[in-house]
Amino acid sequence: MDRREFIKWCSLLAVGSMLGGCRKLPFMGDAAKKDLPSLKMFEAEVRRAMSKPSHRMELVRVPMPGRLKTLGASLENRFGMAIDLDACDGCGKCILACIQENNIPLVTEDEAAKGRFMHWIEMRGGVPFMCAHCGNAPCERACPTGAANHTPDGLSAMMYKRCTGSRYCGANCPEHARKFNFNDAVQQGLSLKFNDKVPVRSKGVMEKCSLCLHRLQDDRLEVKTAGGVWRGRGVNTACAEACPKKAIVFGNWLDPDSPLVKVARRRDLYAPADLAGLDPSIVYMMGGK
């Protein structure tokens, strides 16, 4: 290589790298991102998940959830839901509402074929099922890092940043309510941020129904800022709001004025057989009007 050639290549290299430096987007990351999915794709996925054959859960009678028996539990609040199976027709609108509220991502074709959807609510034999927020939750006992924890208000919560993805909680949930983020949803263009208040979970962490924790937190901060006792009145979960039959009732089990307690008092309560002994906060109502 002679001098002329050498200078030519050096200057080309310099110009090239300077052009590279002028780029607006990084080489990887944003540039590699795929197009954002549309709402239609989420609807299609819900239909696909609902068409998946599933068995109906075995339900057994349970008493009305009471105060938590754990250390430091609140005396005023224990949030939960009751799902009226006499009213529910399994339309699946709650699943879509949950997706939009909690920014639940789509899954890849591979995952869908294996039946691994991220939906926090799924239909088990026409019955909507989500994490029951057990008072005596086996998943929390198994979590090595303490990422799965119990709030004093009775929510089985997740600290996503603390999760190391051992998936032990998933193995230890008798009803397999937990979902694992196998994909980097943002990177692969599987996620649409419907709701700014909920973070999109990163790859490798577990997630599940949070009982719309952000709504509760918002209300709590507002009440606490103004000063006063917070009973979570006026808060509702996304699935309960979306239900056309009003079959999902959200409320505070320890608040006698809560719509939940008012409705549930007159009904027979049921829970999946393998969760019944774990003090679930989310129960099913049938008969007994």
Binding site: G72, E140, N149, K161, N183, D196
Partner: protein, 585 residues
């Protein structure tokens, strides 16, 4: 012979590396995962390799304390295999994690934010046990190698073996509890600890027998023991079948029925026959672990899974061979390395004097009692601290949950203390000083992680002047600070912002350090550079890591918050701190 083996193992390792790399990049979606329990092949391989690792300890330490005489070349070989298998074994649970860089959160040590690993989780027990076991295995091998030359090292050899004896049983019991303590029906069974230990020792014996074949000699005792292992395993498989009704025929054939060929003298007496029988045991037990981890059936077993299996064997073979060659000087009969020689019958030295020791007076116990006492004290202190942490954080636990942590802590502390005296004698004064300095540095680091950096906790009351608290009007559009600094803004700041930014606006480091990218420091130059309007915009619409608060906070209130932040930034930190001392009334 060595060269051929090396090439074979490299041929396994290189494609294995490719699938390992793909797995790390892709995450747990890369390999097949059980649909019900989310666990996959890495866990099977972990149980398999940790099981192989136990054989070395069994043959070396347990036989030593039980006075079973054995040639040194066999026991050092087995210990070396233990270490290599342990290295392979720890890779798999790490790669199994979804967020690998968070693995340290499993250690039962409180971080600056105050989060404690959940000591009730079998995975935490597992982490501690394997850490302690690995450490002690290294120490034990080093002591064994040195025992030839140094009398001090020889004197702590047997006491160390006594420490390892319960440890090895403990470790595999804990591994079995990873399964047995769950709600998965296929994993439940009170016999799991013994079942796992038998499986581990059995597979380890098979591995050692293969190695002895490669070395060109044999030990009949180990072959007999292997045969006994197969009967035990058969009994447990039948027990499992009687209990749950699932029986894997392949496992039964490979690990229980085929080993019975050792009764045929043609098989027993030929090296090839012994290798084949031992290999069939290894295959059978690998399959057994795979079937165990996939209770709802193995589906989608692909090239990545095969690659991971190859990776395990390849890596083990390569590091074992390298270490074996390096250590051939200390292993007896180096001239017979990896070749056919005539069978040597293990020397059976005359059992010599039978000396009776009254309980608690043996020389080993005399050496061990002080280290053990220290270990028990350290363990007790640790447990008291843990219980305090748990109660402070309101985490429910039962005392039984803490028991699994006792053995690894006691053994580690006792093992280290036991080795300190010979170590100091060995490395001399300068080395001793360096070691103490290193230990001190480690302690300081640990303290820093525990204590975090000083910061004002978010609950602290910040007020710059007394009259600020009196004003009760909402912030308006006029820019005078006096009318802005009000109790309402402060309350909002403390409810909404102080969690990350700190009540004094100088970061709540205890929270932020672990969970979020560090927020902006709200100092005066930054405020001035950005200006009020753009800061209001940031609060309402969010920025890189700042959440948007539009809809939760009115624009007017956001403006008030900006002015409050300015007020905080203008107050020197020392003033804030001083005021917080007495500012709580």
């Amino acid at each position: 012979m060595v060269r051929i083996l090396f090439i074979v193992f490299l041929c396994l390792l290189v494609p294995g590396l490719a699938s390992m790399g793909y797995s790390l990049w892709q995450g747990p979606a890369a390999w097949s995962v059980d649909t019900g329990v989310f666990w996959g092949l890495p866990i099977s391989l972990f149980v398999f390799w940790i099981g192989l690792a136990h054989a070395g300890t069994l043959i070396s330490a347990i036989f030593l304390v039980l006075d079973v005489k054995m040639e040194r070349r066999t026991s050092i070989l087995a210990e070396l295999a233990t270490l290599c298998a342990l290295v392979v074994a720890v890779i798999f649970p790490l790669m199994h994690l979804g967020v690998i860089q968070n693995f340290y959160m499993v250690a039962p040590y409180m971080e600056s934010r105050g989060s404690m690993a959940n000591v009730c989780s079998p995975l935490v027990w597992d982490f501690c046990c394997i850490l302690a076991y690995g450490l002690l295995s290294v120490v034990y091998l080093v002591v064994h190698v040195l025992a030839d030359k140094s009398a001090v090292a020889a004197s702590i050899h047997r006491p160390l073996a006594w420490l390892l004896f319960p440890m090895v049983l403990w470790v595999h019991t804990i591994v079995s509890l990873d399964f047995a303590a769950t709600f998965v029906p296929a994993w439940r069974g009170a016999f799991f600890p013994i079942y796992f230990i038998v499986g581990a020792v059995f597979s380890g014996l098979a591995m050692v027998n293969i190695m002895l074949c490669a070395e060109g000699y044999r030990m009949r005792q180990l072959e007999k023991l292997m045969l006994v292992g197969s009967w035990f395993l058969g009994a447990f498989l039948l027990w499992d079948f009687a209990l749950k009704g699932n029986l894997s025929v392949t496992v039964l054939v490979f690990a229980v029925l085929l080993p019975q060929l050792m009764f045929v003298s043609a098989v027993r007496e030929s090296t090839l026959g012994r290798v084949l029988v031992s290999s069939s045991i290894i295959v059978g037990l690998l399959l057994e672990r795979v079937f165990l981890v996939f209770p709802s059936g193995v589906v989608g077993f692909g090239w990545v899974d095969l690659g991971l299996i190859c990776f395990g064997f390849g890596l083990f073979g390569v590091i074992f061979l390298v270490a074996r060659l390096k250590l051939s000087r200390v292993i007896e009969g180096e001239e017979v390395l990896m070749g056919e020689v005539e069978e040597t019958v293990p020397k059976r030295p005359a059992t010599g004097r039978f000396s009776y020791f009254a309980p608690l007076t043996t020389p080993e116990f005399r050496m061990l009692r002080f280290p053990l006492l220290l270990g028990i004290i350290a363990c007790t202190l640790f447990l008291v601290w843990v219980v305090g942490c748990l109660e402070e954080n309101g985490i429910a636990f039962s005392d039984a949950n803490l028991v699994p942590l006792t053995c690894p802590i006691i053994t580690t502390v006792a093992g280290i203390v036991l080795c300190l005296r010979p170590l100091v004698m060995h490395i001399g004064k300068v080395g001793g000083v360096v070691m103490v300095a290193l230990a001190a540095l480690l302690g300081v680091l640990a303290g820093m992680v525990y204590g975090g950096v000083t910061s004002v906790p978010s609950g602290a009351v910040v007020s710059s002047t007394g009259d600020m608290l009196d004003v009760g009007t909402l912030p308006d559009s006029t820019s005078t600070l006096d009318s802005v600094a009000i109790i309402r803004t402060k309350a909002v700041f403390e409810a909404r912002c102080a969690g990350c930014h700190g009540a004094d606006g100088r970061l709540n480091e205890k929270f932020v350090r672990e969970y979020y990218p560090v927020p902006q420091n709200l100092d005066i130059s930054r405020m001035d550079a950005l200006g009020e309007d753009s800061l209001v915009n940031v609060i309402l619409n969010g920025r890189t890591n700042m959440n948007p608060y539009a809809g939760r906070i009115s624009p007017q209130m956001a403006r008030g918050l900006v002015r409050y932040m300015r007020l905080l930034a203008e107050t020197p930190a020392a003033d804030n701190a001083a005021r917080n001392e007495g500012g709580d009334e």
